[in-house]
Symmetry: C2
Subunit: 427 residues, 2 copies
């Protein structure tokens, strides 16, 4: 029998609406799973079981209103919560209690979702991991920076979780943990109350165990119902095959990728080869300049007032970021703006791009959350990205493919990802 | 019986001068050792045995003139040689044959030394290691960037070798491999023909198996005879104990350090505790800004013309370095100039500083050459630094202490290091 905590958000929501499940029972089941697994996985930086259960009871009493009515939601600890401490993964903020929820957290509550706790993030959502381990194999990293959110969802401790992505912090951990990660088009969600790393790049994203769930979650935050995910059922998508940095990809990852596009072709998709280029790949350099320059400004206060509590990587990166001139940073952003316009023409002949979410399986060890190289260009371009799990590699760890859509065409990208999910037999 | 290749440079030199050893026999012995060990250690990027032996024969015939007469010398592959290819650790320069020797290489030849080959350097003497392994345990890094030079000397393949240091590229590999490394005062040796990384920081240094040998070697390059290393024999030095970033040091390293200063005190040295400070340690941030900014200029040609042959670390670092404004870089160098003057007062009350050369033993694996954190501030200050081996740690790998002298007071720093060597029973 499926335990409640194993239900997808949509399944749980349907059962709650039909009266077959209470928010309280669902929440208790999630906490049973957490109690059983938390020592091994370490997904959480803060949990308040009593409060979450009492909120679930209250939601049940009210009839679980809202698009996320009665559903448990995990919040990455880079986002402010008015009822739970928020550390941003830094000891500087070890006792920090924000007075207000981040906007995206408010949206969860407005839509009836229940905040179950805060998930582990790397320091300021960049480097220097926390305690979280990959639930598929605890010797391996879950990826980062949204480490706890990806691991908690993969481990069936919670159906829905928030992430943020500045380089590869949603898509990479989703791929490493074997869940669906969704970074919407840049600018989709307001970032008020989300600790800023780069104003030009930071994007609020979501994790769940299937495409329908991230769609439900993300569109609820927009105040909209889930888009139609069956769009490609009768007319399969035109898929552009493009792998920047393919030389860095593992054999396993490339084999899994090939398996996916062959199945897609067999199911009726049209495939179009789109070669990468040095010019296109050089956008990763631009992403680094912007991320570093912006971080030099956004973390300037921490650098000036608490240098002793910043790890070395931050000390160095912020010092360098501060030395990047305003005109060089402005110029880099202008080049990125130009690229966002110029490269949009890729989608004239394809519905979506299919690429890799990471170089391969999660690396061994938890000191390094892996390389975000396969995400950086897409984040710079601001395009919607979805990780779709695609089997396992030679170490029995998850692999994935990344669906990339045109800016603003999130519904189409999600529908294509849902179509692929069906073709792969994921759902 | 001691094999010829095991002799120190001074011992070999004495035997050559007395007629008990020929340069040819010494060179043949070194190559026997290399042939036996090169597959394991991988210290060399280029060797020409026939040429080296024929030069040794020629030197014997001429009576082995010069301060380095008949001695084999290894050249880090970041330095130009007119008779051997020079790759700077980069595939961009895979077939590069300079038309002229670097000035320091010329000085070796002028002084009768024989260039035995080129040693492995990391890419452009920064990150991304070559094939070299730690001769004490091949599973561990030898450190870098002067990887091959440190490993070759430690493995008794060659008595003398060149290094360069911009962050910690001489002292750290010396510590990891268990040899003496010497970075003289900034500006001591002309860097013409040495691939530039940072004009403000790059320093030509040397490796040998004892302090007398690095002194012989370095001062021969200056056209001077070795300074008096017995200066502290009757009047032991006043030693300042100072460990910036001590929180990053391993227990092993701190125990070895304690052992050294206690022995020094017992042997008559006066000890003065000098606390580190956040302000002092923030000079490491300045070092990063200057190194990155300078690298953005010095490697600009490679970035523009061969981006596909630069590893990711370089692509990112050069892109960031190019975005650092001239005024920010100038300002950073002004702050460093000020620090060089201001911090000199430390030596008003001590002869030398005793500190750590690295956080501990060489890390496992050869993909990362270890953290230069314990070297960066001293390199920024331009002060002379010497690694003196100081036993082994819990993994049976070498540890060391770092002697730091006042700018220009290299002879005193070397004499203190030689005194410590005696106290520790290294010589």
């Amino acid at each position: 029998m499926t335990e409640f905590h194993e239900l997808s958000a949509l399944e749980a929501s349907a059962k709650i609406k039909s009266g077959d499940l209470t928010a309280e029972a669902l929440m208790r089941s999630c906490f049973e799973r957490i109690d059983e697994r938390d020592k091994l996985v370490g997904a959480w930086s803060y949990l308040d079981k009593d409060k979450a259960i009492s909120e679930a009871i209250k939601s049940d009493k009210a009839g679980n209103p809202g698009r996320l009515g009665g559903l448990p939601v995990a919040v990455k600890d880079i986002m402010d919560t008015d009822d739970m401490p928020t550390t941003y993964g830094s000891t500087i903020y070890g006792n920090h209690q924000p007075s207000e929820d981040a906007d995206c957290v408010k949206n969860v509550r407005t839509n009836g979702g229940i905040i179950i706790g805060k998930t582990v993030t790397t320091e300021f959502a960049w480097r220097n991991p926390g305690k979280t381990r990959n639930p598929n194999n605890a010797k391996h990293t879950p990826g980062g920076s949204s480490s706890g959110s990806a691991a908690g969802v993969a481990d069936m401790q919670v159906p829905l979780a928030f992430g943020t992505q500045t380089a590869g912090s949603v898509i990479r951990p989703a791929a490493y943990c074997g869940v669906v990660g969704y970074k919407p088009t840049f600018g989709t969600h307001d970032r008020k109350g989300v600790k800023e790393l780069s104003n030009y790049l930071d994007t609020v994203g979501t994790f769940a165990r299937d495409v329908a769930d991230v769609s439900l979650f993300d569109y609820a935050l927009r105040g909209q119902s889930c888009p139609n995910l069956a769009d490609y059922d009768n007319q399969p998508p035109v898929i552009g095959l493009m792998i920047p940095f393919s030389i860095e990809a593992s054999k396993d990852a490339l084999l899994a990728y090939e398996n996916v596009y062959k199945k897609a072709e067999k199911a009726g998709a049209s495939l179009v080869d789109i070669p990468s280029s040095m010019k296109f790949e050089s956008l990763a350099d631009l992403q680094t300049v912007i991320m570093t320059g912006d971080a030099g400004a956004s973390l300037s206060w921490e650098y000036e007032h608490h240098p002793e509590r910043l790890t070395r990587f931050y000390r160095d990166s912020i010092a360098i970021g501060k030395a990047i001139s305003e005109s060089a940073l402005k110029n880099a952003k202008q080049l990125a703006d130009d690229a966002r316009k110029r490269e949009a023409s890729i989608f004239e002949k394809v519905d979506i791009l299919l690429t890799l979410p990471a170089s391969g399986e999660a690396p061994e060890g938890i000191d390094f959350t892996g390389d975000p190289l396969f995400n950086r260009v897409w984040t710079l371009l601001g395009w919607p990205c979805i990780n779709v799990p695609a089997g396992v590699g030679s170490r029995r760890l998850p692999l994935g493919v990344q669906v990339v859509g045109s800016a603003g065409q999130d519904a189409s990208a999600l529908a294509a990802a849902a179509w692929l999910e069906k073709v792969l037999g994921n759902s």
